[in-house]
Assembly symmetry: C2
Homo-oligomer: 316 residues x 2
């Protein structure tokens, strides 16, 4: 144990409004800022930050580029690249990055989605500390986990620049709309995460024997015509059915003339697959109608909790 | 009857994408443009127009001002006012206005909303021809009608510049998202409108004995703190309950700390009231959390159908 007064545990960065048209978490953040007792912080020292204040002011996802794709080192370290989101990413890191002037060791990034993801977690890769934190939250609340990895088209996520971090992703809710259930779920997931981090700080983090992840396989665009415009939309039986498996030949899209278009896996591909982010509004411009995953059950490893405990006790 | 070949009935303007982030109708419009048989036009000569192509390109509601508030005469006729939406409004009128180079007599404007309006109609004021058209659609499909009138804060709607016109409003759907049911409902309502106009053209329009309207009383903003930011959001029992009456003391909002805030009618005000456009994302900036209406049953008048028949036969 530390000397009188206690060595301070590493601080935790809580980010809302990384996308300026996702309104629920920024509203919560503002309330927590003026009513600290409204959030069960478990004695952790929190830094509450609005991710992209300029985009938030405009109620747009971003101004120049997606802030949550701007944390790739090759972007951050290129002195010739200058725009509002890259400037913001660099400023956030300079302030609250792990070696910033007011450093944080963990980043929790609160998002919402138009897809029916429910209350869910997104991990980027298989960092042991992230897996420990996600396993603890899943044991607490049962939240599904989307393991986003090996996606060459999508990188540079905010939480990747901190030693430990994940996204809390709640939906469905339209962009620009605040609803009480989305706020409630966001807060529940955040408080569960803070509880796990506090147990790690206290050396008392225990993980379940296993966790369930949905491992990213790839993303699927809408069928498009010769002009590049969508020739079909998501089939009604798929809408709001995130996490529900799709088999070979199941309806996936429906053409403008009403023809169902089935899911056709590549030769030899495993079925079923579990879809996520079905009809997320912001992914249209990325050419993503939904992403496909495999549901897998992984035994937890002793080293995961040990790594998170070490981080939260010492900051290492 | 007209001479051999027939006098052409007045043309009908069908507008989609008046708001550039409402994606369902523009997608339909594009399909109908390349597959004219996909829309039951009942022999009417249609003009299919993308309302705000520049905003649609940016997938934003508007660029400089809301196009669907830009059709007020004092705006259109002020030569000192120039912006992208006013320019577009003037161009649409010059082309397809009632005295344009390629004139249309009726305007049908297809919108979507994040509110759970279902498949619905919006009328602006009590023009007999609009009431005739709405009564015929309601008799056909049972759609609810929001009569938007006497609202000093909201004016300049597109359809007001045509002799007859109404909005088809379908939801809930997030901005930027296409779903098959929203498309289906939009097409059903449009085809019902075209059917009524074709019957008027043929001198065979018959109206039901009465129609039900929801007459606009006023709009309600979220409770706000001293800083102008929302201090509460819509109560969960109200979300997605458009058209469901609210009585004195019923929960309306919920504060950030979870306190329900009841509906408190003004002294002497009639209750219940019927809410519409609950949590429409685009109305946040207008200070509108929902609008309140009175449900009323009105006997139809003979003159309504006569006026629409006269318009569709002669263009007068």
């Amino acid at each position: 144990m530390a000397e009188q007064g206690g060595a301070e545990a590493p601080r935790v960065l809580v980010v809302a409004g990384t996308h300026g048209n996702e309104c629920n978490a920024p509203w919560l953040l503002r309330h927590w800022g003026t009513h600290p007792d409204a959030l069960a912080s478990k004695g952790l020292d929190l830094e509450l930050m609005l991710g992209n204040p300029q985009a938030w002011g405009a109620r747009r996802r971003y101004l120049d580029r997606d802030l949550n794709r701007s944390f790739a080192l090759e972007l951050l370290n290129d002195p010739d690249l200058q725009d509002r989101e890259l400037d913001r990413a660099r400023a956030l890191l300079a302030l609250h990055g792990p070696t910033g002037t007011s450093p944080c060791a963990v980043a929790l990034d609160l998002h919402s989605t138009t897809a029916a993801m429910g209350n869910s977690l997104v991990l980027y890769g298989r960092r042991p500390m992230d897996l420990a934190l996600a396993a603890a939250i899943q044991a607490d609340l049962g939240l599904p986990i989307y393991l986003h990895e090996a996606d060459g088209a999508q990188s540079g996520f905010l939480v990747e620049r901190w030693p430990c971090g994940l996204v809390i992703e709640v939906g469905p809710v339209p962009q620009g709309v605040i609803t009480a259930p989305i706020c409630r779920q966001s807060q529940l997931a955040l408080e569960s995460a803070l509880g796990a981090l506090a147990r790690a700080r206290d050396g008392q983090l225990r993980l379940p024997q296993a966790l369930t992840v949905h491992r990213h396989l790839g993303s699927v665009d809408l069928p498009r015509g010769a002009d590049g415009e969508p020739a079909a939309c998501v089939h009604p039986v798929r809408q709001h059915r995130d996490w529900v498996p799709i088999g070979d030949g199941d309806p996936l899209f429906i053409s403008a003339d009403g023809t169902p278009l089935p899911y056709q896996p590549a030769e030899g591909a495993e079925v079923p697959v579990w879809p996520v982010f079905i009809n997320e509004a912001a992914y249209g411009e990325k050419g993503i109608a939904l992403s496909l995953t495999r549901r897998e059950r992984w035994p937890t490893e002793v080293g995961w909790a040990e790594a998170l405990i070490a981080l939260m006790i010492s900051g290492n």
